[in-house]
Symmetry: C3
Subunit: 314 residues, 3 copies
């Protein structure tokens, strides 16, 4: 594996998930793999669990870690080519990346959708700049439209349950702020590789990009999706068509214990952080897979880093 | 030792201090103890010497370190149970702690008193949330009401001088801002285990919680406390009865060379940072134990981490 | 080598540059040198490439790294002696440094010129406080008036080209903000040790301190300096005589491809970050030594740390 920015970077995403399960149960020490090598982590947006889980995975592989928090106020980066940089931009992204990656053996980068202009987000300017200018392998720690490490952890969590051909309900849920579509996009991209019946439910106006929903059953009826589901994957996102907006929703989409009762003893899943009693009721969250998913973030990162290191060391 | 949040977590605090002295003089390398293990340090409030000394101690024990600065603006945490989280709180403390401790083998947490509501501070909501939800041992890096690593360093510093049955004056001192009672509370909790004559001096209105002062001689006369003292432990704190307030003080409580002359060649102690020529005169500070105390912070942390690691490795 | 704060701290700066070249090509692992030792990095000003390159160098030498970002708002430091600290200053620089260096084996410190009062900057209060109070070797990661690690990387980059007795044009260039003189001062201090013909060009009003320009040819004619130059070292700085100001400049000092055509196939050099199409045109920057200089920052830091560690370990 050279880069890791979407399911498409892996020859077989399912193999990656199975490697993740195997790695969790392995007592073997892999610290020799990353010894004397350095992982750079560049955060254009703040991060807690991604930074912790990725750093922990790196330590387990013997890697040194360099963290760079790019604070927009302190270090303005120019993304346009040919600009006369006499304004607030202090460094061109090309120069910044060439220099940073010169000090690292692998680089991870985190950026969010701005939710202002759809094309700006869906062309992934930050991630693609790293792919263009980096001299070392690039790992996405969440980009404007995808979150592959989260998705790898998610499908690993599903595979671990050993339920064959499950019904997976993917449901929109309420949230007080406009959020990106990245986590759901990415989950749909990865879940294609699992044999499963997937139904995606959301209110009208919250249709996702068909690149991700194509081939899945779509509904505006949450109860239809939840009916007999084995997994209930829940996430808020803002509108893709009226980009970044939050069209009014008349019904209550919060996941309740009552709603979960209609599933096939279904397991609630969420990527965290979660707004309790908004996205889902306390009782639903307290009996869920959320902590397993979070813990699998560490092993997912370790699997990806291990694959990349094995390629580098070859 | 499972957790380390107060003197009560140790079977015998004096043994811990003696271990600290022994560890300082030991050339043995203990990096195998923490090898392939990770210490998480969560700061709800900024910290310089605590972070440096604890990280240095962790490195000496071969531990990897993950630092998390919880910035109130960037990541609002909900402490109440059952809340509908549709406001500014982004994650419930329960979920945050379960996830964070999932990536660590030991977790340290730092929080301060808000000095607004006494019960809020003295019930230690942050520290107790960690004790409730953490899946790994918890170390206090200062809490709302106690600062055990500071106190362990302090009594270690006193024991190192080999003065038997010393007189210890604990004196309030002026400060331009309202400060918590944690350092003094904690010192009084730990000093109980040393054979010593302790006199606590403070202006009227600055009485401490009797849980900590009980059994000690109390006075509003600073010169009475300092008279023939072997150690002069100085600290500012705000009022406990008129919680967080700074009742007016008529006399000058700054420690001067003149006042120190009345002691038994007494040693001035302070936890740092210190406001020079407010808490004490330059000359007093320049001839004090403050740098020894600071250096002992590192070994105190090392002793505590070593005990916890030995328990984990058992 | 005890400290590293200017060319004067090295018996022979040229030997240091040659060691840097040798170290780059050496496969030998030097992680034993720093094993169980800690490098503290104190940043009074934000830093990206200095922090990354120095940290990477430290990791290569087996050093643990403690980073301290001194945020002016969070931790106000008092530099005056004898002050009654009842204002906003929370800790005296003397106490802060004694405590910090107590936890480290080597300390690096970064500070910038304030460009308000020339004497304040040129007496280097922060760096000199570290030199006065530190109990361990001090490395400058850029100070108010010098940037020795940058200069070591720069002369290493020049030596690597194997051009004997080169003509080196040092040219001022435009910039939208007032910048310190440190990088150019420092380059001139180090370049003295290379056999070279140096011409320094800048607009009237931008004369540098004669301590650094003494012995070099000075001109206000950029084309005269660039004529047949083998290296074109470019940097903006604000006025030294009208301290920190930006006197008006009538001509265009931006380095263009046309101007470079008059050189002896000269190599463009800059310390980064660079304002593209302000300091120099894209095409000039894209065919330059800037990434080599940046990469040499890592090896320069490694060379300096290695020398200091060898002295410590003796």
């Amino acid at each position: 594996m050279k880069h890791f920015t979407s399911a498409n970077d892996s020859a077989d995403p399912l193999v990656l998930a199975r490697q993740t399960i195997a790695l969790k149960n392995q007592k073997q020490n892999f610290e020799h793999l990353g010894r004397s090598k350095t992982l750079g982590l560049v955060f254009f947006n703040p991060s807690l669990r991604t930074r912790m889980s990725t750093t922990k995975a790196a330590y387990d592989l013997g890697l040194n870690v360099l963290v760079l928090n790019v604070n927009g106020d302190a270090w303005n980066i120019e993304f346009e080519d040919g600009t006369v940089m006499d304004g607030s931009s202090q460094e061109h992204v090309k120069d910044a990346i060439k220099v940073m990656t010169g000090y690292c053996d692998i680089i991870g980068v985190r950026t969010f959708a701005e939710l202002k202009n759809r094309e700006d987000d869906y062309t992934e300017p930050v991630l693609n700049a790293f792919l263009e200018y980096s001299e070392v392998p690039v790992i996405s720690l969440e980009s404007a439209t995808l979150h592959p490490l989260q998705s790898l952890a998610d499908i690993t969590t599903i595979l671990e349950t050993d339920i064959s051909n499950p019904k997976i309900a993917v449901s929109w849920a309420p949230h007080p702020k406009a959020l990106p579509q990245a986590v759901t996009n990415s989950f749909l991209q990865w879940i294609k590789f699992i044999e499963a019946e997937v139904v995606v439910a959301h209110p009208k106006g919250y249709e996702l990009h068909e690149e991700f929903t194509g081939g899945f059953e779509l509904t505006n009826d949450q109860s239809y999706a939840l009916d007999s589901a084995d997994f209930v994957y829940v996430k808020n996102w803002s509108s893709y068509s009226k980009y970044g907006q939050r069209p009014p929703v008349s019904q209550n989409w919060t996941i309740t214990s009552e709603k979960m009762a209609a599933t096939n003893s279904g397991s609630f899943m969420h990527c965290l952080p979660i707004r309790r009693n908004v996205v889902a009721e306390d009782q639903v969250i307290d009996n869920s897979l959320i902590y397993k998913q979070a813990k699998n973030r560490e092993t997912a990162a370790k699997t990806v880093l291990k694959n990349i290191l094995e390629d580098i060391n070859e």
